[in-house]
Symmetry: C2
Subunit: 246 residues, 2 copies
């Protein structure tokens, strides 16, 4: 074990990341990815105890001119960032849906316990488990005490809405958080053997009365501000520590 | 325009690729990706008119010990292969589901006209189109005549089954082919500005009487053999030509 010296924070949308980037006074890093074709953006700076911190966003789709949300954009960003930035820990931060039935409310902050895909159904032996693609977050009991936040299963899928099939899968997976990237990043982090932490702030209640997209757009600014508050606390807590101190 | 000198063929599963690799007498390429952590496998050789050909498979999931099927595995493979192998054209070859209502039958060979995701529903303006993520295959009228194959819309999703919501989306997208990777590769190919062709052989009929997973497993060998027959024809036709001759 050695102290955590490089931290990569992956955030899907620029709108989620900008308050944090401004707050941490990070500077855009040019040409830091393995190809100039990479759509991602990278912002770097120095954190507590001399650790380097990089915030990477998925960037904009060249065809559709919106952020590269979802598992494909997240997998590409994670893969390239883990090769080129070689972090000691990866943090995925983002906005997400919560569940009233599990005590979630708009504005809540969750650390992930476990990651599962809820929209990859492959009913062939062993492919079924691969489809769910369960990975564990690293254990961070001290960080959890420090943040005083909730802990829960983070479930990932590529749709903002939730069909009855989705809702049944989210129930079966005991989802406290529904979002669109974390399980893809967990798969890549496992591939590289890099410890993975995810923090999600709640913009909308999946089992509430308002359609997700309306609530999401109404609360995106608030949830991005919550990220601006919580992510620096995580960086500050993690920087320079060893994994077993988290 | 210049003659096509490097062709990358992306195939998700080793079982789909092995008959082709043996038939083309390709040799495994070690350490050709940007990281030794890459799960993909690469097999290379020389095609007609001195063109280089590489077959890249998604490799095996280190945790679940099955092939990295689906959009995340395909996006990572495409992204790394396009950076490191710098092809003039990318071909995605694989097995897929067909549709009786569009004249599909087990053993059919399809060239893709268009790629669409059928399981990414994001009901926010512009994100809805990004979710579908439509891309066009390059125009290949001469290749289509040569192969005497069917042409159709290829729709991508991360589940082998199809819920009622999936079936409605597949209908709305006029899917002739349902599979798990092509739209993710189309997104990456567009990012790199590399022309993209996809060929799919039909293992199962989505709107037929037999559950997809049973039919898929029963016909995987036959469909892999069909790939072994058709992919060399595509490589031979494409190698050394200019794009406007395809």
């Amino acid at each position: 074990m050695s102290p955590i010296a490089t931290i990569v924070v992956l955030i899907a949308m620029d709108a989620e990341a900008q308050p944090l980037i401004a707050s941490l006074n990070l500077e855009e890093q040019k040409d830091c990815f393995m190809t100039r074709r990479a759509p991602m953006k990278c912002y770097g700076g120095v954190a507590a105890r001399g650790a380097r911190v990089f915030v990477v966003t998925n960037g904009t789709c060249a065809k559709h001119n919106v952020c590269n949300v979802g598992t494909v954009g997240a997998a590409i960003a994670a893969y390239d960032a883990l090769v080129t930035l070689n972090p000691d820990v990866v943090v995925n931060a983002g906005t997400a849906g919560g569940f009233a039935k599990r005590g979630g409310a708009v504005g809540d902050v969750y650390l992930a316990s476990t990651f599962r895909n809820f929209d990859r159904r492959i009913p062939i032996p062993r492919y079924d488990a691969y489809g769910v693609g369960e990975y564990e977050a690293i254990k961070t009991p001290n960080l959890q005490r420090e943040l005083k936040c909730k802990i829960g299963v983070v479930c990932t899928g590529n749709s903002l809405d939730a069909t009855e099939t989705c809702r049944a899968a989210l129930d079966a997976h005991e989802a406290s958080v529904k979002e669109m990237e974390a399980a893809a990043i967990a798969h890549v982090a496992h591939l590289f053997g890099v410890p993975f932490i995810a923090v999600k702030t709640i913009t909308d209640i999946v089992d509430g009365p308002v359609a997700t997209q309306e609530e999401f757009l109404a609360n995106l600014g608030t949830a991005a501000t919550a990220l601006k508050d919580v992510v620096p606390k995580i960086i500050d807590f993690v920087a320079g520590k060893e994994l077993n101190e988290l």
